[in-house]
């Protein structure tokens, strides 16, 4: 058979298989991310059916996947929403960082991955999955709940923190000297500030540049702008993903809504590819040795996220049940933990074991997060009842 034919058959099989997995996942009420990762593990080196000859496409597709993930994240927020969210939730955001980045950092240090590995692992355990959480809140009919704005503002804070964290991480991973590292961080901070100011004051001009009444032209312009900005950002040592995120923030109003609507299916397609490629590049046999560690990390960071959410909700005067819901809703980790792990592994600066640990961790947290959000109410009620019984006894 011709090479192209084989590649097409392989790609087709992967996409079709992912489609089936995705449907299965939402049907049983979990996120498809862990299934995509497992799919990648199965088709990769040392997996069940290793595939060859599609690396070039899958590599660039997964890059586009990350860019689209962050572009759409940026599109979801207007700059003013980010600013008010930041003002309202910065204390909760700081608690979030301290409680949830620490376990990852400690594990990174204990495993001897040095400060760089610790920084990467801190990011992996810190960042909740806005994608999974937004979907689960919608599915459970909790968007009207009082604790939901608290959850969302914590997520907004995390997303902004990512915009600062990712360029710092890429700089540190590049292993450049301290001075040029500082310069790169300085450049990215300046870029973020400029973008926020531009978005706040002149967002409509940015929107006007990409806007078009013709869907085809519009799609080409938005996608083109995103890839251009991402490429330039990565050339400037600021991560490509952050460039896309900032572009997303700068586009606002109805332009942003249209762009979201059009790009969503595209993002889902390429993001699925991103998870598969990450799975492809991970040796399946490397997972079992780190599984116990991942379980421990999962248990600890579940507790710390629940504490974060409950604390943030309590500050806003939410009742005990709502605090429990807010805590449990934040547990899910997913796309960004994998983005961080993928950047780290690609740089080669940290032991490959990190990929295995991050994969196992996200496999657990992406499955357990939605489940936790679902079962929190009966569990909290049981705890309350038991507490009442003990108190009265």
């Amino acid at each position: 058979m011709h090479n192209t034919a084989i590649s097409l058959i392989q790609l087709g099989a992967i996409f079709f298989g992912l489609g089936v997995l995705g449907r299965l996942a939402w049907k049983i009420g979990i996120s498809p991310i862990p299934l995509y990762l497992i799919g990648g593990l199965a088709f990769g080196e040392g997996g069940l059916v290793p595939l060859h000859g599609i690396e070039e496409f899958t590599h660039i597709a997964s890059e586009i996947g990350v860019i689209l993930l962050l572009l759409l994240l940026g599109l979801e927020y207007s700059a003013s929403e980010l600013m008010t969210g930041l003002k309202r939730s910065w204390t909760a955001g700081v608690v979030d960082i301290v409680l949830n980045a620490t376990p990852g950092a400690v594990v990174g240090l204990l495993l001897g991955w040095g400060p760089v590995g610790a920084l990467a692992m801190a990011g992996v355990t810190y960042i909740s999955s806005s994608g999974i959480i937004a979907k689960v809140l919608g599915d459970l009919g909790r968007l009207g709940n009082r604790e939901t704005p608290v959850i969302l503002s914590v997520l907004v804070f995390e997303d902004l923190a990512m915009a600062l964290y990712l360029p710092i991480l890429t700089t540190v991973l590049a292993g450049v000297s301290f001075v040029s590292g500082l310069t790169a961080v300085g450049i990215s901070l300046a870029a973020i500030t400029v973008v926020l100011v531009v978005a706040l004051k002149y967002g409509r001009y940015v929107s006007a540049v990409v806007d078009s009444p013709d869907p085809e032209v519009f799609l080409l312009k938005v996608l083109g702008a995103a890839l251009l900005v991402a490429g330039i950002a990565s050339q400037l040592q600021v991560s490509a993903a952050v460039g896309a995120f900032l572009l997303g923030i700068a586009i606002s109003g109805s332009t942003a809504e249209n762009a979201t609507r059009m790009l969503e299916p595209l993002r889902d397609l390429f993001a699925a590819m991103f998870f598969v490629v990450f799975g492809l590049n991970t040796e399946p046999s490397s997972i079992p040795p780190v599984l116990a560690l991942a379980l421990g990390l999962a248990a600890v960071t579940t507790v710390t996220k629940v504490m974060t959410g409950a604390w943030a909700a309590k500050r806003q005067g939410i009742g005990p049940m709502g605090r429990a819901r807010a805590g449990a809703a934040l547990v899910a980790r997913g796309e960004f933990s994998i983005v961080i792990a993928s950047l780290t592994v690609a740089s080669g600066a940290v032991d490959g074991e990190l990929a295995a640990l991050a994969t196992a961790y996200v496999l657990l947290m992406a499955v357990f997060g939605p489940v936790a959000a679902r079962v929190v109410e009966p569990v909290a009620r049981m705890v309350q009842k038991r507490g009442a019984v003990t108190a009265s006894a």
């Binding site: 979801e76 929403e81 968007l143 009207g144 709940n145 604790e147 704005p149 503002s153 809504e257 009742g319």
Partner: protein, 160 residues
């Protein structure tokens, strides 16, 4: 009424208020224009017992259904100054005598001296209906007249 407006970053806006029964009631407006009617749980005002997705048309219909009594009250207010004249609403019971009949067929004006000022159907008010207006089961007929006139109107529209 104290309506609380809460931005939901990335989603839209929630607008709700406490009702006397101790529950929160309101609407989530999504960025793309969809609506959701929310009603909080009885035992936990933070949570929602129902969040019902509504199309813009459905939301409009619900709004005017709830607004109909307001319309009648408004008419009543208009006629308040005229002594001895009151406004009342009468339902056309589905399958009853005038379900499917024209306004003219009731001969209401001749028989009672009261006059029909509006008909509220599926939340929409039809002001000053013409004699050829055909009633449907479920219509609310808004009638203005003296109290005797309104009493006989009840007989006419209720019994036949």
């Amino acid at each position: 009424m104290n309506v609380e407006v809460t931005p939901l970053p990335g989603i839209g806006t929630r607008q709700d208020f406490m009702i006397r029964a101790g529950r929160r009631m309101g609407v989530i407006t999504y960025r793309d224009g969809r609506f959701e009617l929310i009603i909080s749980k009885e035992e936990d005002a933070d949570a929602c017992s129902a969040s019902i997705a509504l199309t813009p048309a459905e939301a409009g219909t619900l709004a005017s259904l709830l607004g109909a009594p307001g319309l009648v009250a408004h008419l009543e207010h208009q006629h308040k100054d005229v002594a001895g004249i009151t406004t009342r609403q009468f339902p056309i019971v589905p399958g009853s005598r005038y379900d499917g009949e024209t306004l003219a067929a009731t001969e209401l004006r001749t028989r009672t001296g009261a006059s029909v000022v509006a008909v509220v159907r599926s939340g929409n008010a039809h002001p000053s209906p013409r004699p050829d207006f055909v009633f449907e089961g479920g219509d609310l007929v808004v009638v203005v007249g003296t109290s005797e006139g309104l009493a006989s109107t009840a007989d006419v529209l209720g019994g036949g």
